[in-house]
């Protein structure tokens, strides 16, 4: 059993992945949302598949990427979006909008209850009120807003997004949109003649002109509302347009864009319940994009795959499992469990790497471009370094660290994704791949190493204080690992910080401006320098090193998140407040660990045994036997 355990564990993990990843078969008579979800559109400055738009929009309004209706029926993000785009009256009934704030509910005369989700229909009498209240909150800086003001503003934004989605590819409530478009296209020439006759002062057919004018006004409204730019350019390097915009342009060209027509036919077929007709038009659209925009089509269908595989969620689960296996390995079955954990970690790292590289391909950028991707990258870097340590020391410690840090950073990333597209476009000042690839990568690698050193120290303290498993040999190798990782962190943090200074000198005209994010980075460098000098000077030994490494977690978390919560400075592309309680909690937990580690060594379970055997439980004696390195 022991011999086969690693193989079995790996087999289990792979089959679990396969089960998650096998595509669901679409029933013949059902709408093919897999294909429809791959259709490219432009939102937020980036061409992406409809599937991404659906997931991000549902995440913004609903807080999840899946919708559960009363009666237990589940809707995928694409099912929801298809209803919103083509069948708004049905979508209006879905309880999608998340409202938990009692004051906001009170605004509508509702009492707080178990229900958190509400439908558009329920809000429709209050739209004006919500808009006014939201506009008031918007005037405040986000730091100054109360919980109510935040909640009402979120609701307003969610409702506005929803209404814009409904008017993205056809006017809300349109019935026979395809025939409306046909009539529009046919009447353009006659209306054009009438318009030029009127301009020349001749007799003209007022009815012909009026027909088109009414429609033009309708499409102008559509173009103002549209959230999705669904119509690709016909010429290379052209602009994407919304359906409304494209229809207005048709007045000049006399022709309606083929994609606009396809969307209209899709909508009509969908509302009529004609699924085979719907699928037929999706096929036509797919073929059109494959022919006219082959690169775009390839990229969006890859992004669709990326969305479906959810690589970070999968590797998150594997990391937890590996962490547990590595911890159990200290209790018994040492080698087999260790090896199982190591294999699992390799698998998780492979998937993690796939996700990271996919994001780089989709965005055509270096790995770190925002807070979300920094979390992904920090985890990735720390896991690699920890696995190298595991390869060298083979005692499960590196594996446990890899599992824990991989899991925690991916959880953090998951919660950072709440605001929608994590592949968002970059602000002008960040639009430089050289600096993103050097400064940002070096800084985040430094963060990785700091967290890894902190994690090693935590393992030292917990195993030392609460278990008897911290033998002298293990303690020494932990100390060596921690020291090495701190050196590594010093190098990368320093280089990253200085590179940041040089970038700032290039783009803002000063090397150093005492901006909060810069200060955060230099705090890490200073702390590393203090640890190393204290160690070289003999002011600290093994335990001191561990306590200081744990404090490194505090410094790093402040630098990573804390400074962003201040809301000042030039690095304003990553502000966030919601995580504040979490940050405080984390810092308190680290301080508590430091306090535990500062207990007299007689209280450490691992070292108490040592003291019994030496029969001289004096502290100084202990320090030399246990912490001799």
């Amino acid at each position: 059993m022991k011999r086969f355990l690693p193989g079995l564990v790996l087999l289990f993990a792979v089959s679990w992945l396969a089960a998650n990843w096998l595509p669901h078969k679409v029933a013949k008579d059902d709408v093919d949302l897999t294909k429809f979800g791959k259709i490219p559109v432009l939102v937020g400055g980036r061409v992406k598949p409809l599937d991404t738009v659906a997931r991000n929009s549902l995440l913004i309004v609903h807080g999840k990427q899946e919708l559960r209706l009363e009666g237990g029926r589940r809707l995928s993000a694409m099912q929801w979006l298809t209803d919103v785009l083509f069948n708004a009256s049905a979508a209006d009934q879905y309880p999608v909008f998340l409202v938990q704030n009692a004051e906001v509910l009170g605004l509508f005369g509702w009492e707080q209850s178990e229900r958190k989700y509400f439908s558009f229909i329920e809000f429709s009498p209050f739209l004006k009120q919500i808009d006014e209240q939201g506009a008031q909150s918007e005037k405040l800086e986000s730091v100054q807003r109360s919980a109510y003001q935040n909640a009402i503003l979120n609701l307003r934004n969610a409702l506005s997004l929803y209404q814009r989605l409904k008017n993205s590819v056809q006017p809300e409530g349109a019935e026979n949109f395809a025939s409306e478009l046909e009539a529009f296209e046919n009447s353009i020439p006659a209306a054009g003649r009438a318009a030029s006759q009127r301009a020349a002062g001749e007799d003209f057919d007022r009815a012909k002109l009026d027909d088109v004018v009414v429609l033009i006004q309708r499409y102008e409204r559509l173009s103002e509302m549209a959230y999705i730019l669904a119509v690709p350019p016909l010429e290379p390097n052209g602009q994407w347009h919304s359906v409304g915009d494209s229809l207005l342009r048709s007045v000049g060209t006399g022709e309606i864009h083929p994609i606009v027509k396809q969307y209209a036919l899709l909508g009509d077929a969908y509302r009529a319940g004609d699924h085979s007709m719907f699928n037929q038009h999706v096929d036509l659209m797919t073929a059109w994009f494959a022919k006219e925009q082959p690169n775009v089509a390839k990229r969006t269908s890859f992004e669709f795959l990326f969305n479906r595989l959810q690589p970070f969620s999968q590797s998150m689960a594997l990391y937890v499992l590996a962490f547990l296996l590595a911890c159990f390995s200290w209790l018994g079955w040492n080698r087999a469990l260790n090896r199982s954990a190591f294999y699992l970690l390799l698998l998780a790292l492979a998937i993690h790497t796939f996700g990271l590289v996919s994001r780089m391909y989709l965005q055509e950028r270096p790995p770190v471009t925002n807070l979300y991707s920094s979390a992904i990258f920090i985890g990735w870097g720390a896991v690699i370094v920890a696995l190298i340590l595991e390869r060298i020391f083979r005692d499960g410690i590196g594996a446990a660290c890899a599992g824990a840090i991989g899991f925690i950073t991916l959880i953090i990333a998951h919660h950072l994704a709440g605001s929608g597209d994590t592949l968002e476009m970059l602000q002008a000042v960040l639009d430089t791949n050289i600096w993103l690839a050097t400064h940002v990568v070096a800084i985040t690698t430094g963060y990785s190493a700091m967290f890894l050193a902190g994690m090693l120290a935590i393992i030292y303290v917990i195993r030392g204080v609460f278990t008897r498993s911290l033998k002298k040999e293990t303690a020494d190798s932990l100390a060596r690992m921690t020291y090495g990782v701190v050196c590594f962190a010093t190098l990368f943090s320093f280089v990253g910080t200085v590179l940041g200074g040089i970038w700032a000198d290039q783009s803002w005209g000063r090397f150093w401006g005492w901006d909060p994010k810069e200060n955060g980075a230099v705090l890490i460098v200073l702390w590393c320098a203090i640890i190393l000098h204290a160690r070289w000077g003999g002011f600290i030994r093994q335990r001191g090193l561990m306590i200081m490494a744990i404090f490194g977690n505090v410094v790093t978390s402040f630098s990573w998140f804390g400074v962003n919560m201040l809301g000042v400075g030039l690095h304003s592309y990553g502000f966030m407040q919601k995580a504040f309680p979490w940050l405080v909690g984390f810092i308190i937990s680290q301080l508590a660990l430091m306090a535990i580690a500062s207990m007299p060594l007689e209280r450490w379970r691992s070292f108490r045994t040592a003291s019994v055997s030496s029969r001289h439980p004096r502290k100084q004696k202990l320090e030399t036997t246990v912490a001799g390195a």
Binding site: L229, I392, V429, V498, G509, L523, H533
Partner: protein, 385 residues
């Protein structure tokens, strides 16, 4: 005594204390930015010898913590002293020496920059030409003799001289200037819109119809103080011409006559004149399609320098500044509706120091840690064998 001093300044403990103090200072200074704004916090915490309490002038103040300049200077002395004392030429010390030499360059460069770098900005509307940049904070009271239509004679009085009840007497001016009121930051309102009881502080020019209220110092990155003052003009041959309101918020300069000449006065951002001129041809502000996220800013300018026979077009954009005659021009911002571009102008004679220092320190760290790593893996291999 000397030995004890040497021991103190070369000790590793002092290094650690300095580093720890720097951490505390930076942490406190970063938090203080929330209320004070970056500029003010920087002045109080980092560009000072001591951090004082209480910070507002209340008649007394006591130093509560060493400031950035003090910590930096002590660290610099400590570094140099320790290395002078312990310096030994040995390969295994190479990494440490390199690292610390680089740090010395960096610290010294930082202090030098703090003392000698000048930042200003140039705002240009389309087609506009300027041969000066303006200070971001410092103001000056410009007194201009405009009698001669060909030549303006400018006397610029820096705002540090303008204080309540200060009398300014320059040989070049036929009058004395008395500062009656001075507000570092203020709000101006037309008397008709101000609350009851508001009185003007001037009796000449538009200032006679304006109420001035003092305001707390601006703290935001993009905010700046609206400095205002009431000044009385006293001709040197006796009498008074009256009191004028001068303010950053008043657009056009105000005119009066004295000693048979015509004068203009204005309180304006302090100017740095250049021996060349810059003309904005075109400012471009691109956004990503369908969003408000800025994609690119760029300013196409013409640089004309008769002294050096330069007349050329330059494109200044994000991460691509123009370096000319010891000054660097950066694309820093723009006015609302893209009506004008704002270029940051930096004169920093020691800008090269961090570049050099970075390379040296990075090399030093690599050598040092590489040395450790090789030693460690050798030991490990020996232990396993």
């Amino acid at each position: 005594m000397w030995h004890r001093l040497v021991d103190l300044f070369t000790s590793l403990k002092l290094t650690i204390i300095c580093l720890a103090a720097a951490m505390v200072l930076i942490f406190a200074g970063t938090l203080a930015q929330v209320h004070l704004g970056i500029h003010e916090a920087q002045q109080r915490y980092f560009q000072s010898l001591f951090v004082w309490w209480p910070p507002e002038s209340r008649g007394f103040k006591i130093p509560v913590f060493p400031g950035g300049h003090l910590i930096g200077a002590v660290l610099l002395v400590n570094l140099i002293a320790a290395h002078l004392k312990r310096f030994r030429l040995a390969w295994r010390k190479l990494g440490i020496h390199l690292t610390h030499a680089g740090l010395i360059i960096m610290l010294a460069g930082g202090l030098f920059t703090d003392l000698f770098a000048v930042e200003s900005h140039m705002q240009l509307a389309g087609g506009e030409t300027k041969n000066y940049s303006e200070d971001g904070r410092g103001m000056e009271l410009a007194v201009i003799d405009v009698t001669d239509s060909d030549l303006d004679q400018v006397t610029a009085i820096p705002d540090t001289v303008l204080r309540h009840d200060r009398t300014i007497d320059y040989w070049s001016l036929p009058f004395r200037i008395v500062v009656r009121n001075f507000y570092q930051n203020s709000r101006l309102k037309m008397l008709s819109e101000a609350e009851d009881g508001a009185r003007p502080i001037a009796n000449q020019g538009p200032g006679a119809m304006i109420a001035v209220q003092p305001a707390p110092r601006a703290t935001g990155v993009d905010e700046r103080d609206v400095t205002s003052a009431a000044i009385e003009i006293l001709p040197k041959d006796g009498g008074s011409l009256g009191t004028w309101l001068v303010s950053d918020a008043l657009g056009a300069p105000q005119t009066f006559s004295c000693g048979g000449r015509t004068w203009m006065i204005a309180l304006r951002p302090a100017r740095y004149y250049k021996p060349y001129s810059v003309t904005l041809q075109k400012f471009t502000h691109e956004k990503y399609a369908g969003t408000d996220i800025p994609k690119d800013f760029s300013s196409r300018v013409t640089l004309i320098d008769p002294e050096r026979a330069v007349n050329r077009d330059v494109l200044i954009y994000m991460n691509h500044p123009l370096r000319y005659r010891g000054e660097t021009y950066y694309q820093a911002g723009f006015q609302k509706d893209d009506s004008a571009t704002i270029l940051q102008v930096v004169h920093n004679p020691s800008f090269i120091a961090p570049y050099v220092a970075c390379v040296i320190v990075a090399a030093g760290l690599l050598v040092q840690f590489g040395y450790h790593l090789v030693g460690f893996s050798r030991k490990r291999r020996a232990a396993l064998a």
